[in-house]
Symmetry: C3
Subunit: 331 residues, 3 copies
């Protein structure tokens, strides 16, 4: 892979971490702070080397990456595809909308068939928590969790953290609040694990039907009124109300929710001067965020989208290379 | 982008118009004759340089183009994708079949999210007239209208005109008739604007339920019987009856329609010796055209398909370069 | 196409057969043994040259291949796409799920439209036997049959035979049994034609509702009890029960079927020591095969998937080159 070397050679700040050995990215819970920082560093380097995730590098031109999505997704799937192709990798789309697939073993057979087409990484989204972990046990190729039910969505956590780091430098010591539907949010879980490992103070905030006291066991602060914490937050991450994951309606009305938890102009006045407003998207304007805040100077929502590319390029780069190295050793 | 230069260097007739500044292609109504000719000239050059739209050039190898289609389409979408990839650009498909998208603001949020993934151009098809114009106001990247309801479909107009130009040289002075469902046809509108600007005489012809006298205000001739104009047309463009856009049936039966408006062997005998038979496709054999005419010596229907690639390559080339140039200036 | 030459130059065992002239691959029935061996030889060479169908070659970087699938498929479609892209070709997906397409002439119009976008090969799957043959008559580009109803699926036959050849060397003299739903299986038909031409003894085995005596006319042995032939088979190819192709249920219950025809641990004990267990997939664990056999040492099911890439690369290579050569001659 000569061109890759050359392309990177032009960016002296790109240091490929020789010590990365992990084959899959399943969650942030089991990553060390060092591993998280490695991914963030590689993401930052790749972002610089590609003019802000715009141009291409030939780092993975020999690799093929498969999207295996059992839940609808256009954003995350497109982001992974673009990240792969910006590094020169080929992509295949395996949308398993029910069809010939049933459960249990045949699900693994499908994944093994894809692996037998010699892909280097399978990116999997599934409504059942633990699916990527199961695949990781059964396959030799890299497995990347793109969301397993309400459990984790590690690249979402990483891109949120990268965005904070770009604006604040160090994560340690920052106060970050996740607001809204904590109970059903894989984004919340991945953010919590990542932020805690890097030394942030994390608050989860929402109606008591969506935020339980048991979250305190993870080491986060549990709060029920956004107004109580506004003046001490460095970052607000406004989670979407995931109506599709809720059996019963956890609050009287959308209006009621917005009244207590929406970030609006009035609340912005009581927030820190340099507060960052984040949201994983798609946003519900008028529910968790008003248009003037979503489009305002503190909003970094679209930067998060761009950083999604950076983080996914970094993850693909690290895992596919570890993959290739291992295969060479076995030969 | 060295390779592009080299590839083009081999074709001395390829003159890239330095003066192109338009960021988006929204319609033909607002283009000047000079701009239309520029697109056609670049299309003709690219067609020559790619052995008739067959081989590849590396002109846009740093670019990514997104298809954002809110209406079903395989032809146009595939044509845009192929055009992009024949120039080395990457493509992403964003099929927004209802799903998580509602209307108004959230539609723009979707487009902004795609833009934040650093695409250079968004190709949009939507059932609401004016959607591409709205996007153009909200985005920084190039926006290409691939059909907005019954309003316009500019690349279809351009490919039709390119096909005529290839056979007749100059458009000025030709008599071109658009036959069929004028009322619901974005193809008709784009053809009318383009042809008039280049000096053609344009006739619209169809049942009075589908062709109103008010079209005369645009500067075209309105006719209700195909037989009245057959002997003075240089080109017939046979529009498909778009049943899906019609609330009520505008004529007694398909048979009745075919009797009055279908191009058949008998009508061909009364037409000019060198008449060109065109159709935007998909054609309904036996409705607006009989098989012997569709497959006959005067038919250029399949050439239109190939010219669709040429025109879309030209548009992508012009807009993406203007795009990149502007970004460089801002830096 | 300089790079292609270079890439291949590094593999002295790659001999491109100058004498290949066939434009399309429609079935195995009409191929000669020599032609089948040519495809297998090229497949084996390409597999070696790509590190087991893993890395890329630039043999078809000027080509575009279209998938035109009228039946659902993810495996075969993905396999063809990957094969094309591993050789540098572009791909377009034309999923004709009913939609604007009806039957007869308009189906051919669709294919002609795709051809007019200058594709080099159209890969077609359709529920009607003979569809690829019809297309072949109407088009100038290469046509590849990816399954036409219960008729043939030639690349499946070829990949099965390649897998046998890799393990046993010569096909001549081997005894190969196809077990299960012979009546509805295009895989069975393609295997039978290919294996017979290469000199194998072929047995078809299944319930009498799915295997008729008339198969003897093709030159195969017809057997109704798996237990009668176990000890003399070199290869068992376990076909899936294709419930979707059956009007009435051809056996009392799945349990009943498994009792008589499932390959399980007990039957393995009575089989030859070096028996190969194959299945075209997707497999129904517990129906035609038990998990310990599917995952056992004799199973080559996943090798078949990889060889699908090799065979499809070979077919695309041969047909696209014949295609390009013919075009040059015409110029």
């Amino acid at each position: 892979m000569k061109p890759a070397q050359d392309a990177i050679g032009a960016y002296p700040d790109f240091a490929y971490p020789e010590h990365w050995t992990r084959r899959s990215l399943l969650d942030l819970e089991n990553l060390s702070a060092e591993e998280i920082n490695t991914i963030l560093d590689v993401a930052a380097s790749l972002k610089r080397a590609t003019d802000g995730c715009r141009t291409k590098l030939s780092l993975l031109s020999e690799c093929t990456v498969a999207n295996l999505f059992f839940e609808n997704s256009t954003r995350t799937r497109t982001s992974f595809s673009l990240a792969a192709r910006r590094l020169g990798a080929g992509t295949i789309e395996f949308s398993a909308a029910g069809s010939s697939l049933s459960k249990g073993e045949s699900f693994i057979d499908t994944a093994k068939t894809i692996e037998a087409m010699n892909v280097d990484a399978i990116i999997v989204r599934h409504s059942t928590p633990g699916t990527p972990h199961l695949l990781d046990q059964e396959l030799q190729c890299a497995v990347i969790n793109a969301g397993d039910g309400p459990h984790e969505h590690p690249t979402q956590g990483l891109l949120d953290i990268l965005t904070i780091r770009e604006h604040r430098g160090d994560i340690a010591g920052l106060t970050v609040a996740l607001v809204g539907d904590i109970a059903h949010s894989r984004t919340a879980r991945s953010n919590i694990w990542g932020l805690l490992k890097l030394g942030a103070h994390v608050i989860v905030c929402g109606p008591s039907t969506l935020v339980s006291r048991r979250w305190e066991e993870l080491g986060v602060e549990v709060v029920y009124r956004l107004d109580d914490i506004l003046d001490r937050c460095d970052v607000l991450n406004l989670l979407r109300i995931q109506f599709e994951r809720q059996a019963t309606r956890p609050f009287p009305s959308v209006h009621e929710y917005a009244l207590l938890y929406a970030m609006n102009r009035e609340r912005m006045r009581r927030a820190k001067d340099d507060i960052l407003i984040m949201a994983p998207g798609p946003i519900n304007r008028g529910v968790e965020i008003t248009p003037e805040v979503a489009d305002g100077a503190h909003s970094v929502i679209l930067e998060q989208v761009t950083n999604g590319l950076a983080v996914r390029m970094a993850v693909l780069r690290l895992l596919c290379h570890a993959q290739r190295d291992q295969r060479k050793e076995h030969q």
